[in-house]
């Protein structure tokens, strides 16, 4: 079995691997974190700890899922707040974890309604021995509006609370940002101005995943009612990646240290977050669905990828994609690429024909006798919708031509994808 060093340093802390549990029920207590460490996770962000007097009172049931065809957990919706266990016990758990797992990274997630609370919590988790602090400025379903994503979308408040945490602790600190905001840059800059050393993002996306057609309310139903609350899992990955990209290309934030979160399930997802500028990675939903064991394939797959790429240190990969994602107005619009059909693969289902007609440019004609499509290049705009719907991946990049009146050499245009079908 391949064995490669996948350790990485983040905010001055050494991670034996970049894979961490994000703050949530997956790392609610000592026993859970210990099991996760034993199964190979590099770090944990302990379930968000609040002040002693904040009463957590949860609803039941508290989850919902978005499905598509036979696929469960396309997205996951939760209505949970912060740690239910008493403050004392959480602190004792942090301490014991650090004692028993000195080489693993223990990160304390904290949240409070006042500056005093933030400062005090920061002091307490530092005393308990945490390696790092994460400020939860982003939970979208708190029962108190003095906490959670309402705070995270208010830059002056973000700055104030970061300063409070820095007064209480000199541990490295990341501010966990909400995606329920148009532009994350002002909030991130406010966090850095307040003393944050890095950013963790994203937390969950405000949502309603399903509506019950009989009860006429959203799911899950809590005595006849429901609420808007946070969405996570695979479907939020694109949202997370866009925020991370936009942070990393904002002026002054090019080297921003980021812990990437949102829909990570496979080693490929992990690499995507790293290429987009994340140094460490955090996971919840995939662990809730499949268990801690998923880290085995994430680590192993990452090692194989590094081997293929000839990369010795994981840090070499961080942010490599940022420069290749440019504003839409800067893209090359001088050419189009026609699709090409591999006749050995085509099974004659006609899906490309339907989608091209009903969703693109009526460029595919259908031979009813032979049950085979053919592409009319005079109508084809090269959108490649057909390639995406083909069930056997028979349609792939074909001839590239310059648009009329544009200059350029089609053979120099770079369109090749390595994605494994």
């Amino acid at each position: 079995m391949i064995n490669k060093d996948i350790s990485i340093d983040f905010l001055g802390v050494h991670f034996e691997n970049p894979f961490c549990l994000s703050s949530s029920p997956v790392d609610n207590c000592y026993e859970m974190c210990a099991k996760a460490f034993d199964e190979g996770w590099g770090g944990i962000v302990f379930k968000t700890i609040g002040p002693e007097d904040f009463e957590v009172d949860e609803v039941s049931p508290r989850f919902d899922e978005l499905t598509k065809e036979a696929t469960p957990f396309v997205a996951f919706k939760n209505m949970e707040q912060i740690a239910e266990h008493p403050l004392k016990q959480n602190l004792a758990d942090l301490k014991k974890l650090k004692e028993n797992y000195p080489d693993k990274v223990v990160i304390a997630s904290i949240m409070g309604p006042t500056e005093k609370d933030w400062e005090e919590l920061a002091r307490l988790v530092t005393e308990a021995g945490a390696d790092m602090i994460e400020m939860n400025l982003s939970c979208p379903q708190m029962t108190s509006h003095a906490m959670g994503s309402d705070v995270g979308s208010n830059p002056p408040l973000v700055k104030k609370y970061c300063e409070a945490v820095k007064r209480g602790s000199d541990l490295p600190m990341m501010a966990k940002m909400t995606p329920n905001i148009t532009d994350m840059v002002p909030a991130a800059k406010a966090a850095l101005a307040g003393g944050a050393d890095g950013i963790a993002t994203i937390n969950t996306v405000k949502s309603i995943a399903n509506v019950d057609l009989e009860k006429k309310t959203a799911l899950p139903i809590v005595n006849g009612k429901s609420s808007v609350s946070g969405l996570s899992g695979k479907a939020v990955k694109p949202i997370a990646l866009r925020f991370i990209q936009q942070l990393r290309v904002a002026s002054g934030l090019e080297q921003l240290p980021i812990s990437g979160i949102g829909g990570i399930e496979t080693w490929e997802d992990a690499v995507e977050f790293i290429l987009m500028g994340s140094t460490t990675l955090q996971v919840t939903t995939a662990v809730m669905q499949y268990g801690y064991r998923i880290v085995e394939d994430m680590k192993n797959g990452l090692m194989h990828y590094m081997e293929e790429q000839g990369v010795e240190h994981l840090s070499e990969l961080v942010g490599l994609a940022n420069k290749n994602i440019v504003p839409a107005e800067d893209l090359d619009r001088d050419y189009k690429m026609y699709p090409e059909i591999d006749w050995d693969k085509c099974i004659g289902c006609g899906r490309c024909f339907i989608s091209c007609y009903d969703g693109a440019h009526q460029a595919i004609s259908w031979d009813e006798k032979t049950r085979r499509p053919s592409i009319d290049t005079s109508k084809c705009v090269g959108c490649h919708l057909c390639a995406l719907v083909c069930p056997v991946h028979a349609i792939h990049p074909g001839k590239i031509v310059m648009k009329e009146g544009r200059k350029g050499d089609p053979s120099k245009i770079d369109v090749v994808s390595q994605r494994l079908y």
Binding site: A70, T266, R293, E296, D297, N300, P391, H393, L420, Y421
Partner: protein, 411 residues
């Protein structure tokens, strides 16, 4: 005419293997893995596929099973992992063999080299027989740092993988590929060498720290009434000849096969695939007590073989065989161009100094009365399948290593 014989059923693509892997329930304490005799750990490699880590899946298979691509094709999964699969509680078990084949094909296409010989510990082991048991034992010993010489009576390695299981089920290029990887690791195979005839057991014992006897049951059984009959051939002779000639053999118009196990199914299916029009199989057992696996029987029936169950040969006169039913008063006479006997195989352990009863060691385990000599594979107790041969090969290597105390640091 040999196309059907030479062509394997198509395998999965990345899209279709993912659909199959998505049916897997990713069970806790997975019953499929517990049921694999060679501990190939299907639950783990299916999970790796599911999470798009095909290379990791290949490592899991390979590290547990040096013949993973072969087992993927010939393992009677219906008796092992797939029998245990929880998915049966919903509909049908996961196609574990098919997923394993996809992964090992990927491994081959990507030219992955997963297994490596360990640092030499200066000890030498001789293995008699290059069937699956001998090959796996060699691999495990090489990994532990032993040097390995394999002595094989035939001109090619593989035992029944090369001289038995037909091409459409197990292409020879797959067998050659798996064997090449083992010789690349350092196994040294001496072909056309019968131990007990061309070389003596004493010589092997003198030259090596231990000797493993992995001779399988490589000879066919005969019924006295069929002896010295030109119309009669044994199943293993027919299958070996056909596989070596890639199906280019002289064909009868009309063949009678006697026997109802998997070997008989291979013979009748091969004959049919090669285009023999009349293939009749006379089987001692009745359908409800058949020994052949359901998959093999279904394959034979699909090809249109005539199966007469419950009949035993009563007398033979040249090409004409008279069969009688075991329970009812019924008799039939069949005249065939060729009569093929598939009534079992036996072991020839001549001059090897080991004691066997009915071709099998008299007691469980791999030790013999001679502390330097071990047995494994089909002649050790336990199931007579490739996957068991693999496991027995691993176990005998582990036992020898624990006795000789090879590389201590990898324990």
């Amino acid at each position: 005419m040999t196309k059907k014989y030479e062509t394997e059923t198509p395998g999965y693509t990345m899209t279709t293997v993912m659909e199959e892997a998505a049916r897997c329930l990713l069970c806790h304490d997975a019953p499929c893995s517990a049921a694999c005799p060679a501990h190939t750990d299907p639950a783990k490699f299916i999970r790796s596929v599911r999470f798009r880590n095909v290379k990791g899946a290949a490592e899991t298979i390979r590290e547990n099973n040096a013949l993973g691509a072969i087992c993927a094709r010939v393992c009677p999964t219906e008796k092992y992992c797939e029998l245990a699969c929880s998915r049966s509680g919903i509909d049908v078990p996961i196609d574990i063999g098919g997923i394993q084949r996809y992964v090992t094909d990927f491994e081959q296409a990507d030219d992955m080299h997963i297994l490596h010989a360990g640092d030499s510990n200066g000890m030498h082991i001789a293995i008699i027989g290059s069937g699956p048991a001998g090959l796996q034992a060699a691999t495990t010993l090489l990994e532990k740092g032993y040097s390995v010489d394999i002595y094989e009576k035939n001109a090619k390695a593989g035992g029944y993988l090369t001289y038995g299981i037909p091409e459409y089920r197990l292409p020879s290029n797959i067998v050659d590929y798996e064997i090449k990887r083992i010789t690349d690791m350092g196994a040294n195979i001496h072909f056309n060498t019968i131990i007990g005839k061309d070389m003596t057991m004493d010589q092997l014992k003198a030259e090596n720290d231990a000797v493993i006897v992995a001779i399988g049951a490589s000879e066919a059984k005969m019924l006295p009434m069929f002896e010295n009959n030109d119309a009669v051939e044994t199943a293993v002779s027919f299958l070996a000849r056909t596989k070596q000639a890639k199906g280019n053999i002289d064909l009868p118009d009309n063949a009678l096969v006697i026997g109802g196990g998997d070997v008989a199914m291979d013979v009748v299916t091969t004959l049919k695939k090669l285009g023999v029009e009349h293939v009749t199989d006379a089987v001692y057992e009745q359908f409800d007590e058949f020994r052949a696996s359901k998959k093999e029987l279904a394959g034979a029936e699909r090809e249109g073989v005539t199966i007469i169950d419950g009949y035993v040969p009563d007398s033979v006169n040249g090409h004409t065989v008279t069969l009688k039913h075991r329970h009812i008063n019924s008799e039939m006479t069949i005249e065939a161009d060729t009569i093929i006997l598939a009534i079992g195989q036996e072991t020839n352990a001549k001059n090897l100094g080991i004691k066997l009863e009915h071709g099998e060691a008299p007691s469980a385990g791999y030790k013999t009365h001679d502390p330097k000599v071990f047995i494994t594979g089909d002649i050790a107790q336990g199931d007579k399948t490739v996957v068991y041969a693999v496991q027995k090969g691993k176990e005998v290597a582990g036992e020898i290593d624990s006795i000789l105390g090879g590389n201590r640091d990898d324990q």
